[in-house]
């Protein structure tokens, strides 16, 4: 045997032994706290008075990894977790307790870990429950319209057309990307696959992937029928989206057009399908994709906005079986809808003040049923609040306007058990005209505003 063969054998043997020695690796991570406010409020100090941390590893579906639980007595600045097997889509969880009372909690973004190490450092931000705490000194640099969750943050679409990669744990948390969308675009999140931005001026639809790259730009005669105020609703699975209405600048079907865009696995095979027109004109409202009990029962619910029958709701069948008018049974002006499961839509605030209503979409015959009794009302009446849905049926209500002023309070509507509960949950850190919060994969809602970057850890639904 030649000397080279000897060396090769030796290296192979050493490599094998090296792998055996690496059967258990250390995974360093940080437990991070909010930035301290000037007043040193307790909300900014989630560990103040805590006696222990409860830590564990869970899979992304919430299933706890056996034997990974560990209690850590405070005060300490370093600690070890219980050993856990390698795996994919794991999450580190940290609860902060005094006795058995939960003070704060946090969890990491999902990560993979193998003998070669983790896919990323799984830092855990801990925050007091139900409070907005400043997490970062940096901001998104402008008003954010939509956020596509990624493995360790999100791709943000700003109102000025900029796309920003948001990575909370990175040294540079906000990175403006070279890719842009049109400043007039209506943006929707297509599952966890794409940001879809429809520009009424360019008559084009662009799809941006989770890595921030422009995956596809679509132009089509069907898209030219939609103009200013067109609404975009996307399926939670990310396989289709529907563009509804909008004031077209061509003659004919003014603000009544409907277009479905199919988004298969192969982004090159994206297809555009003009559907039957709306029964009445509509623009600048809300379009919500509502999943029913079966694929046949899926509908896009169009509410509010401007139109010849703006007080009504429109139910669009995305499969192309036409649209129908439905009466919601309540005044939907300036109320904000969000879809829950099982054909349910939560309608919050609006002209009626502090109402919280539950609508159930029926497919056959197409209609809306107003659930009774209604969920408990909001504590503070407001028009056009922002809603953030936590899986599966807990909704955070942010801001809005009341009597010409901005509402700062936040409330939580918990619809896991009918007729639900409504509880107050802290204040926005400042008066914000159009608050935007993104629900990211670390289980918290990130309020992204020009005045700061704040996170909210919900006390329910986790």
């Amino acid at each position: 045997m030649s000397a080279r063969v000897h060396v090769l054998i030796a290296l192979l043997l050493l490599g094998g032994c090296g792998a055996a020695r690496r059967s258990r690796i250390d995974l360093p991570f940080r437990v991070r706290q909010p930035l301290r406010g000037q007043d040193g409020a307790l909300d900014d100090r989630p560990l103040a008075g805590a006696s222990r941390l409860r830590t564990w590893v869970e899979r992304r579906d919430g299933e706890r990894v056996d034997g990974s639980e560990r209690d850590v007595t405070l005060p300490t600045s370093t600690f070890s977790l219980a050993p856990a097997p390698f795996g994919e889509d794991l999450v580190l969880r940290v609860d902060v307790l005094v006795g058995d009372t939960l003070l704060a909690r946090g969890r990491s973004f999902p990560f993979d870990v193998t003998a070669r190490g983790p896919s990323e450092t799984p830092d855990v931000f801990v925050s007091s429950l139900g409070r907005f705490a400043r997490r970062l000194a940096e901001t998104a640099g402008g008003h954010v319209l939509a956020a596509l969750p990624t493995q360790n943050g999100a791709i943000l679409a700003r109102a000025d057309g900029a796309l920003v990669r948001f990575s909370p744990a990175a040294t540079i948390p906000f990175e403006t990307l070279a890719t842009r969308i049109e400043a007039d675009a209506r943006v929707a999140v297509v599952g966890e696959r794409y940001l879809a931005a429809f520009s009424a001026s360019m008559k084009s639809l662009v799809l941006v992937g989770p890595d921030g790259t422009l995956e596809r730009t679509l132009t089509h005669a069907a898209l030219e029928r939609h103009g200013t105020g067109a609404m975009v609703a996307a399926s939670p699975q990310g396989d289709a989206l529907v563009i509804v209405g909008g004031l077209a600048d061509t003659q004919g079907e003014d603000a009544m057009s409907v277009t479905r865009v199919d988004v298969p696995e192969d982004v090159g095979a994206v297809s555009v399908h003009p559907l039957a027109s709306l029964p009445s004109t509509r623009s600048s409202g809300y379009a919500v994709w509502v999943e029913g009990s079966s694929p046949e029962n899926v509908r896009v619910l169009v509410l509010g906005g401007l139109g010849s029958a703006a007080g009504t709701a429109l139910l669009v069948d995305p499969r192309g079986a036409g649209s129908a008018t439905a009466l919601p049974g309540v005044d939907v002006t300036n109320a904000t809808p969000t879809a829950l499961t099982g054909g349910q839509v939560l309608l919050v605030g609006g002209a009626a003040g502090n109402d919280v209503r539950l609508l159930v979409v029926t497919a056959s015959p197409p209609g809306l049923v107003l659930a009774a009794p209604a969920p408990p009302a909001l504590s503070v009446a407001r028009s056009a609040p922002a809603l953030v849905r936590f899986a599966p049926e807990v909704v955070l209500v942010l801001g809005g306007t009341s009597g010409g002023g901005l509402v700062r309070s936040a409330e939580l509507v918990d619809m896991r058990e009918f007729p639900g509960e409504t509880v107050q949950t802290g204040q926005l850190p400042s008066a914000i005209t159009q608050p935007f919060a993104a629900y990211l994969r670390d289980g918290s809602a990130w309020l992204l505003d020009v005045s700061g970057t704040f996170a909210y850890v919900p006390p329910r639904g986790q």
């Binding site: 000397a3 000897h6 060396v7 054998i9 030796a10 290296l11 043997l13 050493l14 094998g16 032994c17 055996a20 020695r21 059967s23 258990r24 690796i25 250390d26 995974l27 360093p28 991570f29 940080r30 437990v31 991070r32 706290q33 301290r36 100090r45 560990l47 103040a48 008075g49 805590a50 006696s51 830590t55 590893v57 034997g67 990974s68 639980e69 560990r70 209690d71 850590v72 007595t73 405070l74 005060p75 300490t76 600045s77 370093t78 600690f79 070890s80 977790l81 219980a82 050993p83 856990a84 097997p85 390698f86 580190l92 940290v94 005094v98 870990v113 003998a115 983790p118 799984p122 855990v124």
Partner: protein
Amino acid sequence: MPASSRPVALIVRADVAVRDIAEAAARELTARLESRGFVLLPRTPPREAQDAVLARIEATFFALETERALGDVRTFLVQLERGEHGVVSPDALVRALLLLAEASAAASDGAASDAAVDRVLVAAPGIELDEARHSPVLRERLAARRARPGPARCALRVEDVPEGGRVLVDGEVPAARTHVLGGARIVQIVAPGYALETYVVDPCDHEATVTFAGARTADSLDALAGEPFDPVPRALSEALAPLGVDAYFLDARVTGGRVVYRFSHVDVVEHETSLDTPATRVADALDEGARARADEETRSARRRRRAAIIASSVGVATAAVTTGIVFAPRGPDGFRGQGTIEGEP
């Protein structure tokens, strides 16, 4: 000397009389090897004595700089918990915790003060506070916390401790590992030839198991090195074999009022000098000699050495395989999170 992609350990074997100089010279030589692309096994940097650090922090506290003292004592405890001060001194730990309790109380953080007192009562259950050194507030707090039901005693699970290893809890060998008081305890494993390992665990956490990782450092190998100029002890060669480490030796022995240094790997460079020669000059002389030897090597010598390296690598690999077969079962593959809490509590 050629750069090596394999780790290198510079092992010091020195008479007591010149141990300090030899170790300083070894650090200097280590730095030079590293600058030439060698991968060095780490050495533990010398640290200030725990008592000296505490004395300085206590002086800060008594000078009424409470915030600074609080920050310093927290940092010191973190360093103890990370093993950065070596084996924990039980007295220093208790002193630090008492200082933390005093400073936290002075900063109106009663919960942190109570937590520190609880830890004191776990580390030193029978402690009595000196009236001259500790405030009445702290003495009362200690009495109040002592009156409460204390933590349970639990079994401490420490796995894979090699023969001759000792387990220390808060700096002391516990009387019985099955009767250790619960709470945050600093568990250290001291084993000849291995780096000191430090963990913070609560023995009453039934899932908390300390597993000795068995890391080597240049310092830990020094401890197995034996007498200068003697053959390499079997324990050391056995420790080196599975690591795939190239060992360089720095021997230093006092003979006839002068020191004889020998720096060896493939080549041997000897240097004789007076007892008061500074470490940097020792390192200079040995390093220059080693470089000169390397330059003089002929092509045939290089070939012979290459052949020797190949043979030794096969030998190392074989030994490693043997070790792997015998000792590899270390539990299932996996990871252990090592958390660091950032910011103040």
